[in-house]
């Protein structure tokens, strides 16, 4: 059996502000296999975003082990963390987080720019992923000229452009109406079917069904895990 893509052991995260300690994550154990679609659910403030930030190497755990792709994340230099974020991880945010000064195309190619990819290759790759999310006809637009659903599709394309090992999505449908939300979910489902590993935070029970597995967090602990009763697509 192959190693899991993500392996968390006794992960803890404590925030200290104004002498008050917030235990955002307490003793989290979690494995995510390659090709899995994991959804994380739980009440507000239970630590979902915190977990995702740590998975995405945007934040460091207070203690515990995080092994990504067989490599321990502890003790990495800022520069190496940036490189891993660039190559292994794709982020999708609730509020899209496109860069307003850059066009759709420039937004999508940005991770590739950071990778030092030649312009020509960037161009084909970016147009490919934009095609994939159905946004290639808007490549020259600025984000402010797009609807929310369109912006999130561009954000998905940007997350995909670098062909990351895992997509991390924090409430990707949270700012969208139901039809736009469904469209984005369809996109993620399709990606999963084609082999992408996805870890998604969502409140919406409609969308948790799309996942292979749903993890319930409560007060920083994993309280239950449920396997979706549905068929795996090989």
């Amino acid at each position: 059996m192959s190693h899991p893509l993500i392996h968390l052991e006794s992960l803890k995260k404590v925030f200290t502000t104004d002498e008050i300690e917030t235990h955002a994550l307490v003793e989290v154990h979690l494995d995510i296999q390659r090709g899995e679609f994991v959804s994380i659910a739980g009440p507000s403030g239970c630590g979902k975003s915190t977990l995702l930030s740590i998975l995405g190497l945007l934040d460091t755990p207070t203690s515990g082990t995080y092994i990504l792709n067989d490599a321990p994340a502890a003790g990495l230099k800022l520069k190496d963390r940036a490189r891993i974020r660039n190559r292994e991880i794709g982020f999708i945010f609730q509020s899209f987080n496109l860069i307003g000064d850059l066009t759709v195309f420039e937004n999508v190619e940005l991770p590739l720019v950071y990778r030092g990819m030649p312009a020509k290759e960037r161009r084909t790759r970016s147009m490919e992923v934009l095609e994939e999310v159905g946004m290639s006809h808007r490549a020259k637009h600025l984000p402010s000229q797009l609807s929310g659903g369109q912006q999130q599709r561009v954000a998905v394309a940007r997350a995909l452009a670098g062909r990351p090992s895992i997509l991390l999505a924090d409430e990707p449908t949270g700012n969208l109406d139901s039809s736009n939300g469904e469209a984005v979910m369809e996109l993620l489902k399709g990606l999963h079917q084609r082999g992408s590993t996805i870890c998604m935070v969502t409140h919406d029970t409609r969308f948790t069904k799309a996942a292979d597995r749903t993890i319930h967090l409560f007060d920083g602990r994993i309280v239950s895990e449920e396997e979706a009763r549905k068929q795996h697509v090989p």
């Binding site: 800022l78 987080n97 000064d101």
Partner: protein, 803 residues
Amino acid sequence: MKALLHQFKASFRGLLRTPSFTLVALLTLALAIGANTAVFSVIKVVFLRPLPFAEPNRLVALYTSDLEKRLPGIRYIPASVPHYLDWKARQQSFSSMAASRPGAVTLTGQGDPERFSSMEVTGDWGSTLGLRAPLGRLIGPQDERDSPVTVLSHGFWKRRFGGDARIIGRSIVLNGQSTTVVGILPANVALKTLRGEADLLTPLVFTPAEIQGSRGIARMDVVARLKPNVNLAQARQSLEGIGRQLQADYPQTQGLGVDAVPLWEFHYGEQRPLLAMLLLAGTLILAIACANVANLMLSRATIRQRETALRRALGGSRLQSLAPFLADALIISLVGACLGLWLASLGSDLLRPLVPAELLSAYRLDLGVLAFSFAVSVLAALICGLAPAFLFTHRALSSQLQEGAKGTGHRPWIRSSLVSLQVALALALSVGFGAIWSSLQKLQRAPIGFSTERALTFPLRLNPRKHPVPDQRERIVQGIVEELSGLSGVQSAGTINLRPIVDNVPFGRSFSLPGREQLSATASLRMVSPRYFETMNIKVLKGRNFTFADYGPNPTSVVINKSLADLFWPGEDPIGKQFNHNWMDGTGGQMTIVGVVANVRLQGPAITANLETIYWPMYHFADAAATNVIVRTTGKPMALVSAVREILRRVDPDLPIPQMRTLEDHLESAMAGTRTQATLLGMMAAIALLLSGSGIFGVMAFSVAQRSREIGIRMALGGSPQRVARDITRQGMLLAALGLGVGILASVLLGRFLASLLYEVSPTDPFIIAVAVMVLGSVSLLASLVPARRAARLDPNQALRNE
């Protein structure tokens, strides 16, 4: 109206709530307004004050024009007596014409003898200028014949006689002669002469010898009043004709014409390029400051744009939504103007050396200056307040309100181009400063042809009434020189009628060679004692130095300088050559050249040309009964002062005790003007550098703060901190580079203003430009590195959380 007041109150509160913004904006404008106010106060007193004469616009100064450009560095050659009389007799353009010349008087009978500079004026001087004496009368035509009279300058009257009105009609002893004080000059009239400001007027009476005398360079200033129906151009044209006639009538005056300039130009024209440069520098600083504050306002506007857009969405007009920015700008610029006025009052002392002495009393921060300052600040407020307006008219409301367009949503080209503009202007200023500064350096190192260290110097003026015979005076001076030479601590002593650099007075005569009359020259004329060249360390290049045998009632040997030798005897040995001279009471004579000495900068270090010079073996200039002593010492020159005084007192107790200074001191004063210019421009360049540095810093820091979320996104996408910092630095440097490029062009264009102020430095010297580019580049780099570092230290998780 009420709404307006309300807006100002709100703005005021808002500004107090953002003290760092307010402080930076205030200081920026205060510096700019201060610099401009200070410069304007000088310009106002020099340029905007009418001369204190009746209808000053119709007054002109006449001067001998140097048609063949033989005397570079001397703008207006004073007139000789015969020339003046001929001009006056032949002209038809002027309703009246008068002459004046510098003189000196010794006042005795009131304690120690005192020496004062005087101005001798012809009888029609006062009426030509349209002057009236507030007390008594001025010198009139009758005074050219009658018993001696004098008119005191207002300052001298106050200073020396306590402003006592009873002085009118009383007698004082001037040059050993009882002289009646007939009047006092108005307080605002200064007696400007080549030798500085004079204290009193005496009648100018021409001797028959003068009337028949030389037509070369002399010492008379000529002033004339244009006839009502004649303009300056017409007058100049007719003067040109008179000049041609005179050259035809007197071939030895070949190359000397006559021309006229407005009297104001004659007195203050030289200040013009300097003040123009300062005005320009001030304007540039103001532009930089406005760009800076406009940028700050824009940053504020961007932060508040959603709020502003909301107001407009709720029905406010564009003007209403702009009112806060205009109010902010107005408050900042008016308070800035007050601070600026205060800075200007501090700075006005620095500018004092630029104001001609006689205008100093009128030099202050008065109502006109206040009005100027106010106007500048309102202008600044408009520019700063309108910049946000410009931005807003270009943006659709909806895009400002739209949720998705976080951060800026527009490409911030306005702010960027303002920063580039600042850098460009600062570069132009820095290049200007660099040029002036390096010109100063060159001046200080320029060879002047003699050495200044350990040399004491002072003027010596004998009383011609007490010692009427020139030969007798010659012996007195010789005695003094010999006694000085014998003094312990003295290496050598000599005399010269006009010291190089110190006595910046043109004095010369035209002469020609036997058989080569078509080649006449105007040479500077200097009377020197035997050991003058040794004392000054002037090299004898050919032939010999003067010996005692050369001195006597009718000297026939002369020493010339290298320039003259090169002009008349190129490739030949001039020693033993003879030529005619036509000076000295119009009598001619044959002179034999016995030596050639190295060139000396007679007119000051800034004047490169080495004027042709003839040295004449005489201890003193007989016409003026005066000379100047130079003492080369072995130790500190000033240590000898009392011993020198002792000798002078022993020789003639009536001799006024002159002021003694070192040659180094004199040279220092000669440089002072250039040094002041360099200091001023340096300060302005420093202000510009500071402002443009803070401009770049402001824009970059703001953009980092404003885009912290974007930076977080970039980091989440894999941008390393170094990479992010590098991108931001590069952005800043790109703006700077653009500015530097434009700045180089600007400095080439502005270089023209500078050229006339520079000595052997091109205003577009590539080295100076390179240094300025490097300095500004470094400042820009520093100004963008700090925000870039801040960006690199950003915690991406934190940045993404913050809405």
